[in-house]
């Protein structure tokens, strides 16, 4: 399986061909279909990450030392970005996730989505992903 760094490179290469913003967004829209969706029953307040302007639901499952994420969002572009994130971070060990530096977002020109203005919950989502990793890591160590 490709490393986090490799997957990020892959994504950057995918996006680098698009000069036009609309093409990049179109690609994100396509990618949004790849998002491993969270179980519909979990789309409730417990799993929500609230941005001011769009909602994200996130779940994490721990199996064989690795975390698998599923998610959803009511906004399609947000969904596309999450799909990328999960492609990078899902099926990894807690430590891999904790140490990951997510530079691809910046490199494909989506840094704005991480600014506090962009109230799409992405920043909180990354935080939440890392928190899951830290939590599972702690649990493992206790055992």
């Amino acid at each position: 399986m490709a490393t986090i760094q490799e997957v990020q490179e892959e994504i950057v290469n995918e996006f680098i061909v698009f000069n036009d913003w609309m093409d990049r967004y179109n690609h994100l829209i396509e990618i949004s279909d790849d998002l491993p969706l969270i179980d519909g029953k979990l789309k409730n307040n417990e799993y929500i990450i609230r941005g001011c302007q769009s909602k994200v639901w996130l779940n994490a499952e721990f199996n064989n030392g690795k975390i698998k994420f599923t998610a959803d969002s009511d906004a399609i572009i947000t969904k596309g970005i999450i799909a990328l994130l999960i492609r990078v971070l899902s099926d990894r060990t807690p430590n891999e996730i904790i140490d990951a530096e997510l530079e691809f977002i910046d490199r494909i020109g989506l840094r704005q989505n991480l600014s506090p203005t962009r109230a799409n919950g992405l920043l909180s989502m990354i935080k939440q992903v890392k928190l899951y990793a830290i939590a599972y890591d702690a649990r493992e160590k206790k055992k």
Partner: protein
């Protein structure tokens, strides 16, 4: 169209340097977020620059050249504001930090002086949070009650319910002149008449009307009126609190500090006269001077002309959007100004907003600090385009092109 004759839009646009901005891949900026804040004309930019470079000095307290100059300009700014809203007296104009600061000031001072447990305050369902939360906080503190005038699905307030809400416990009515979300122009004159019939004072939130319509506080007969400098082409951090002198005399000061006092001893402190009683500390005098420059600038163009041009533009936009199809407009009151809230059917506002942005179109998305309006329609928010007298029909056309683009991409 005839009332826009001789309206030299090119000349006006040339006064606003930011309108020449290019964003992203050299896209011209289409600024349709005027409801949030307005752009600054050269006159304002230059006067702020000049006071920073040549004439900055603390006001009121100095006996030297610079201080004289700054004080005179500040007091002249007060007179400009007085004249702009036709207040009777200069002393009725208080400079504050903005609309929010003004409303909080009234909530505190009015609350301290006049409210007792069980008393009631009336606001409307379409208020900005700035005209909701200060009253909620006050109500919690003073154990008073907040009552709400509902609006119908077009965004029109129900005046019958309004009259019925008034009881002998009602002590103050605080309503917005123009809704920042629905664009509704409320019949504030009639609402004030009804309130006064019952002996109740009225505060008007003019944050969204001061820049779009002619306002005459004496004709309206409102007791208080508030607005922000930054929404009327002036600087940030400055606002106005207008109050009839008879009320201002009765209200206790809000903040304590320099300039608002007469004699200070640890035993007893007495307060300065109006308007200084309400202006504690070093005020934003450069902001006030900048705001006055903005008011003079739009006065010279003429508020009637501005209102007519903007109304034409809004009408044009409404029609174009209607023709586009697949769009839901929130706020269809017969009396409507500047603000156009909408959603593209089946498409999330954030998806639309992000495409708009990359096309250079600046609109606002979200609840616009008016969550109860969203709750009314059971939505999370809207896309809001808000026009100003420097916007053009071509810009509206471009907005429609952006909508078309969004539809293509997401369906």
């Amino acid at each position: 169209m005839d009332h826009t004759e001789k309206y030299d839009i090119e000349k006006i646009r040339a006064d606003f340097p930011v309108l020449e901005q290019k964003v992203y891949n050299n896209k011209p900026l289409i600024y349709l977020d005027n409801g949030a804040t307005t752009q600054k004309p050269l006159r304002v930019i230059r006067v702020v620059n000049r006071y920073h470079s040549e004439l900055n000095s603390s006001i009121h307290r100095g006996v030297h050249f610079l201080s004289d100059q700054a004080t005179n300009a500040y007091e002249k700014a007060r007179e400009t504001v007085r004249n702009f809203i036709n207040a009777e007296k200069k002393e009725e104009i208080i400079f504050t930090s903005g609309t929010t600061g003004s409303i909080n000031m009234l909530a505190f001072s009015f609350g301290e002086q006049f409210l007792e447990e069980g008393d009631e305050i009336i606001i409307s369902e379409m208020e900005h949070h700035a005209n909701i939360v200060p009253w909620q906080m006050l109500c919690e503190r003073k154990k008073t009650k907040l009552k709400v005038i509902p609006f119908d699905d077009n965004g029109v307030l129900d005046l019958e319910v309004y009259e019925n809400r008034i009881t002998d416990k009602t002590k103050l009515i605080s309503v917005t002149h123009i809704s920042n979300t629905l664009g509704t122009v409320n019949p504030v004159r009639e609402m004030i008449r009804i309130a006064h019939k019952n002996g109740i004072p009225v505060m008007i939130d003019a944050a969204q009307s001061i820049q779009h319509t002619e306002i005459d506080v004496q004709e309206l007969d409102c007791d208080f009126l508030v607005f922000s400098g930054h929404k009327v082409y002036g600087p940030t951090g400055i606002g106005v609190f207008y109050g009839k002198e008879k009320w201002l005399e009765l209200l206790p000061p809000y903040q304590g500090g320099g300039d608002m006092v007469d004699i200070v001893t640890f035993e007893k402190t007495t307060y300065n006269e109006l308007p200084f009683k309400f202006e504690a500390g070093t005020t934003n005098y450069i902001g006030a001077i900048g705001m006055a420059a903005a008011l003079e600038y739009i006065s010279e163009i003429g508020m009637k002309k501005i209102a007519a041009y903007e109304s034409d533009l809004l009408e044009y936009a409404l029609q174009k959007l209607d023709h586009s199809g697949g769009i839901t407009i929130y706020g269809l009151a017969p009396e409507k100004a500047s603000i156009l809230s909408f959603l593209i059917d089946g498409i999330h506002m954030l998806d639309a907003g992000m495409i708009f942005d990359k096309m250079g179109v600046a609109v606002r998305i979200g609840s616009h600090c008016a969550q109860p309006v969203m709750q009314h329609f059971n939505i999370d928010g809207t896309l809001r385009a808000s026009v100003s007298f420097y916007n053009t029909k071509q810009e509206i056309d471009y907005l429609c092109k952006a909508i078309q683009q969004v539809k293509t991409m997401f369906t």
